[in-house]
Symmetry: C2
Subunit: 382 residues, 2 copies
Amino acid sequence: MSPTISINDSQHLQLKPLEIPSKLLLGPGPSNAHPTVLQAMNTSPLGHLDPDFLGLMDEIQSLLRYVWQTENPLTIAVSGTGSAAMEATIANAVEPGDVVLIGVAGYFGNRLVDMAGRYGADVRSITKPWGQVFSLEELRTAMETHRPNILALVHAETSTGARQPLEGVGELCREFGTLLLVDTVTSLGGVPIFLDEWGVDLAYSCSQKGLGCPPGASPFTMSPRAWEKLQRRSTKVANWYLDMTLLSKYWGSERVYHHTAPINLYYALREALRLVAEEGLANCWQRHQKNVEYFWDRLEDVGLSLHVEREYRLPTLTTVRIPEGVDGKAIARQLLTEHGIEVGGGLGELAGKVWRVGLMGFNSRKENVDRLIEALGEVLPK
Amino acid sequence: MSPTISINDSQHLQLKPLEIPSKLLLGPGPSNAHPTVLQAMNTSPLGHLDPDFLGLMDEIQSLLRYVWQTENPLTIAVSGTGSAAMEATIANAVEPGDVVLIGVAGYFGNRLVDMAGRYGADVRSITKPWGQVFSLEELRTAMETHRPNILALVHAETSTGARQPLEGVGELCREFGTLLLVDTVTSLGGVPIFLDEWGVDLAYSCSQKGLGCPPGASPFTMSPRAWEKLQRRSTKVANWYLDMTLLSKYWGSERVYHHTAPINLYYALREALRLVAEEGLANCWQRHQKNVEYFWDRLEDVGLSLHVEREYRLPTLTTVRIPEGVDGKAIARQLLTEHGIEVGGGLGELAGKVWRVGLMGFNSRKENVDRLIEALGEVLPK
């Protein structure tokens, strides 16, 4: 003990027990989690090497392969939120000097550019106005120009609500000996994805959107081709926490301790995935599509219009144009304070121009659409 | 939709609802969390920019300063487990070419060596047999030899149960213009720490030990001196997720979105810190000390001996020598399967030589000591 030093109480807050008001989270995420999923976290932790916990990790791996439609052996949950899983794909795929071609049509394309640069990539980017997508021809032209080691695309751009079609992109990448890296943060669980059919080599997602889980444990997958590139590296992965050469030994049969997993979040993720499996992936996708189409119709009823062309709209996230003369931030604040409903604002090119409304996972339900439309009717200027 | 591709059901597990057997976690962590802390996670998430959530972040910051006894403005919880917070200190403090001197007397000293190397440090290390600590004189000699930019020490070596005294080390570092980086993973909340009095510039910890919270949100702090070094960097921090130049804008008054926080873990951490504040830091430290001394006495009663010299023993984690001829792994397995008690095994130099027993946070209670001693009496060879 150090009896000579007295305790400084300047930051010694005396707080009341936690009271969190319940809100309907219809922004870009987190979404509300299923009550069963929340309840799972209220369970005593197990040790990260406990056989019961290792069994649960195996279940998570299988079900992540199912929801992503992949057979990749290295399919795990990273111990962080979606951006950590994003960084895991970059850190493990990129070696200094690699040419990384990134399709930027929103905020998260730009984030990939920032991250890839930090790992020493020779970053090239192609751009589109926010809300649009790249055609296969445009991608081919860019591949011919840049001949990248890695092509990175955002399947579901959370900042715009646009869905980047991926059919044919895997074949294109194979033609050029390029790895295909895809952001599925806002698509996993809510939008049809066929990673293996599409030839995707690296993908990441989050737990708090289509999977209906709280944030903090984030899906990551890597194809055997991407794994081979990792094995050929001449330098260590520049990020210890996300190094798959180490993590694969914890998630694989060796069970070598790497770091303490966020145990209770894995309980939640396991339950969230179990519920998706129980519903069935096709049903889950269809539910998202049906509810969002109902939402789009209702929006038109109240005279609001949508930012993204119908063909490329995500079923999980809709960008609603803020009408001329309306203060979008004030409306969002009113929805939150008067109706307990969160919607998101626009980012970057779309700041002040759109609201972002998510109908994801447990929240993709007709009654949530009705509740939001009703609240909008009350807060929007007549 | 993609009607031409049919869904692959090979990984489509049909699982029963989660059932986790309750176990007493007396290993090196995670420890059991207080029921109030677990219950806090069973609360609907808020948005990461919701004013109610931002208020909770402020409470976490204040109470982390209290438990660490620091006034550092940049005191936050990192969105990952303890190793992520460790990496955050390295990533933000180290610039390529910096000389980083690391005291290695256990597994986590070695982890610092590995991480610092990945961030381009010129790593120098001094070593001691596992379970021993460095004297101030030994540190001075090493400082004179290496003249490092950063000195990194492990306050509480989780692999050995030894407490590295830090009195005087801060003054030594200031003499050499060196930043002092300290691992407090197994000390925060359970062992007296006075970061500011001791002149510590960077520290990290975890939630699942002395604070009695599940793992996943990890304390990080940085002194104004360390912050100045970060501001003078000529290159971006090589880790996006843990970049404090970005994170400080989310945790500070600007509230700029960086990544989605693990909301429900922050609820838990807030409650865990509230309970420590309610008990009072000095009382909390004394409770750990009192219960561990009772444990040490009881161990001697049953003829077991301890690895670390009494003066340097941690109150949070005890390394118990495995008696000659006893199969330590088999005993640990029996404790887990027959008595529902987890204890840890030895790592590295201590593999096969010790059990590691944690009495941390909510688990530092007399009845847990009694339960373990009783179980040991049953499983140890007579």
